[in-house]
């Protein structure tokens, strides 16, 4: 994975020194809160309901074991012993003290981490397929280009005060695990007719109060032009994106209002003028970054794994875990292991200091010291030899990270909600917790099959409810929490926005409502049809009828 050179390190160190001075001036009263606010936000420090929250960037979801161990240290030293992995592959700490921030940032800088551009109207952390560099189905390791974009976007002087925040996601696989079509810019690597690898460029996707699927503005962009093309898009957006209304300021609104044809024309016109300038990426530059992502030293593995076969036959729990929580690795004899941060009754995406440290140890021993964070708020050990699966499973089970529920009904995405967030209208985490209790029977969970529930505590949609197979949106009515349900959303290569089912339901009714929807699905599904397929085949009407008949 990428390691900073002295230049990258100097930039982050200089940032720490700068913020240390700003905090000193704030505490000394030389800066008012109004003046300080944009400065702290530029370092990822938000003021939430109860305390400061720090969001730390995990570039394209890749962590070294040393970084994860340091996050454990941060949790223990500066927070209440836990952190929360987010839907943008970042991590948040919820109980930060302002006066400790400079030391905290210095501790992070020691492992090449920071909170830069995790807030504000700038280019945010660039997200990617959590299996990049390991997945059997990928065309190329997209992290090389994510790192190139990370450097280009860090402190970009022209694009640090955009109309609104700006999110870029990239997939190097035809099976989109990065939700690229609901980002401001989505990049999909593919081959053109000549066999060259480049990018399909999509623009104007997003969630929030106006969910939109991104539209393709360029079918194939050669790699060497990646940065100039992005700069052209951002330049058009910076000039013409709306600034009169916060809720209409994302690029999706610009694309929607002027139409994709005009957007394409504006971007292409700008691009023609800069495409052969200093942003061209020579192969040597790409190769130098790619060298950081060289495959680890895989060892030849035996074709037969009698010990694993034995455990699979003898232990139903292991067999179930192996069936759901692994993903095919591109190297024979290796597997991608998902650690589920969705055990029954706990907050989705939370991990304690000890859990982080143990996953870091497992990564050192069994996964070439690499860990990934997923946008579904789980962790991944990307390169585990099949022979090591039993031991990895046992260790994950000991810390509660081996629930065999990846991609199933209890693998719920949830934003922090009203338990923490000052924007929220309703709580998200308790709904997720109650759902995991309701669907605690693993046989039933596996019978229901592939199903994504996504919960947001407000219309900003951090919990991705628009693209949940079942989406749950918290709203507030007369001081009470209510929940609106959507069906049929999806964030993958066939992305779609869910359809609102009907009037919002009370907090008490929402768990029964999900159960009711599952009942309808089980009754009408055909063959091995997933929940999403069923909704797409029959529409929402049968679900709606049965739900509101009994409600």
């Amino acid at each position: 994975m990428y390691a900073y050179d002295e230049y990258d390190q100097a930039i982050v160190d200089q940032r720490v020194a700068q913020f240390r001075d700003q905090v000193r001036r704030r505490i000394a009263g030389e800066l008012s809160e109004d003046e300080f606010r944009p400065l702290r936000l530029q370092n990822g420090l938000y003021l939430q309901l109860h305390a400061y929250m720090l969001r730390i960037a995990v570039p394209y979801g890749t962590l070294s074991s040393a970084q994860l161990r340091q996050l454990g240290h941060i949790a223990r030293r500066y927070d209440r012993n836990y952190g929360h992995f987010t839907t943008r592959q970042n991590i948040q700490f919820n109980w930060i003290k302002l006066e400790e921030m400079p030391d905290l940032l210095a501790d992070l800088a020691r492992v090449q981490m920071h909170g830069i551009q995790t807030s504000g109207n700038c280019i945010r952390n660039i997200t990617a397929d959590q299996y990049a560099g390991a997945a059997a189905d990928e065309i190329e390791d997209g992290r090389v280009y994510c790192e190139i974009m990370r450097q280009w976007s860090t402190f970009h002087p022209e694009f640090s005060f955009l109309p609104r925040k700006f999110k870029i996601a990239l997939t190097g696989s035809p099976n989109d695990r990065a939700a690229v079509r609901v980002h401001d810019i989505g990049l999909r690597m593919h081959r053109d007719a000549a066999g060259e690898i480049g990018f399909e460029v999509m623009v104007g996707g997003g969630q929030g109060r106006t969910p939109m699927i991104a539209k393709t503005i360029r079918e194939f962009l050669p790699k060497e032009h990646l940065l100039s093309y992005l700069e052209a898009i951002l330049r058009v957006y910076n000039q013409f994106g709306r600034r009169d209304n916060l809720f209409k300021a994302r690029i999706k609104i610009l694309v929607h209002e002027i139409g994709v044809e005009k957007m394409r024309a504006a971007v292409e016109d700008e691009w023609q003028q800069i495409k052969d300038g200093p942003l061209v990426l020579p192969q040597a530059t790409i190769d130098a970054i790619a060298a950081h992502f060289a495959p680890p030293d895989y060892r030849p593995q035996p074709a037969d794994q009698p010990e694993v076969d034995l455990l699979r036959r003898g232990d139903a729990e292991f067999a179930l875990w192996e069936k759901t929580n692994l993903f095919p690795h591109k190297v024979p004899g290796y597997a991608i292991v998902n650690a589920s941060l969705k055990p029954e009754g706990l907050a989705p995406g939370d991990a304690t200091a000890e859990q982080m440290e143990i996953v870091a140890d497992l990564a050192d021993r069994y996964s070439f010291s690499e860990v990934r964070v997923t946008h579904a708020q789980n962790l991944v050990l990307p390169h585990v030899a099949v022979k090591d699966l039993p031991e990895v499973w046992r260790r994950l089970r000991e810390i509660g990270f081996a629930t065999p529920n990846l991609g199933l009904i209890t693998d719920i995405i949830a934003c922090p909600g009203l338990d923490y967030c000052s924007l929220a209208n309703a709580r998200s985490i308790p709904v997720a917790q109650r759902l995991t209790h309701r669907f605690s029977d693993l046989a039933r969970v596996h019978d229901i099959g592939e199903l994504q529930i996504k919960i947001s505590g407000c219309i900003n949609a951090c919990g991705h409810h628009h693209v949940g197979h079942i989406g749950i949106l918290g709203v507030e009515k007369n001081g009470e929490e209510f929940y609106q349900i959507t069906l049929g959303g999806s964030a993958d290569q066939d992305a779609s926005i869910g359809t609102i089912l009907g009037p919002a339901l009370s907090s008490n009714a929402v768990i029964d409502a999900v159960d009711n929807l599952i009942g309808t699905y089980l009754d009408i599904r055909q063959g091995g049809e997933t929940f999403l397929r069923t909704v797409r085949r029959v529409g929402v009407a049968p679900f709606k009828e049965r739900l509101y008949a009994t409600a």
Binding site: R15, W152, F155, S160, R235, N238, Q239, Q273
Partner: protein, 172 residues
């Protein structure tokens, strides 16, 4: 209003003419784009210098043919968070090769100076005296940069290439 130019506080010799005002008989003046377009010939006949101030919705291309006649182009930051003038500045410097004074006006805060400087601004009108005091600090806060912007600073990529080349040199 204090003016910071090339890192130093200077007397501002320019008079900003609000639309409709009669121009002073002599002395350098800055006018807004509509007046520039309406009175271009007369303004150019003045021998004391003329500059144009653009709204951040104006197209810089409108000045493209006249840039070598202008002593100042002034751009606006109505709020520090409205970043349109950063793009205007880069276009003026990099696309239209403007070499004269490029002035930032409006809500110019110390923490934005480095971004502005990188985009090509070399003069800053500041309502806030800290802008003047903090020049060395804020512009010196970072010594390395990733993006090529035409500001003359070497990028990290340039530095890496130079180092790789000298490493190769050394190994021969």
């Amino acid at each position: 209003m204090p003016l910071l130019k090339n890192g130093k506080e200077v007397e501002d010799p320019w008079h900003l003419a609000v639309d409709g005002d009669t121009l002073p008989a002599d002395g350098p003046v800055i006018v807004f784009l509509p007046r520039w377009k309406a009175e271009r010939e007369a303004l150019l006949r003045r021998n004391s210098g003329v500059g144009v101030r653009l709204k951040n919705t104006d197209k810089v291309a409108e000045l493209a043919d006249d840039l070598d006649r202008l002593g100042v182009v002034a751009l606006e930051f109505p709020k520090f968070s409205d970043g349109r003038a950063y793009t205007q500045a880069r276009l003026l410097r990099e696309r239209y090769a403007y070499r004269g004074e490029l002035r930032a006006t409006g809500n110019v805060l110390p923490d934005q100076l480095l971004f502005m400087h990188r985009c090509g601004f070399d003069a800053f009108e500041a309502t806030d005296s800290r802008v003047l005091r903090n020049w060395e600090n804020v512009v010196g806060a970072f010594s390395l940069f990733y993006q090529p912007t035409g500001d003359g600073r070497a990028t990290v990529t340039n530095l890496r290439h130079t180092r790789a080349a000298s490493d190769n040199e050394g190994s021969r």
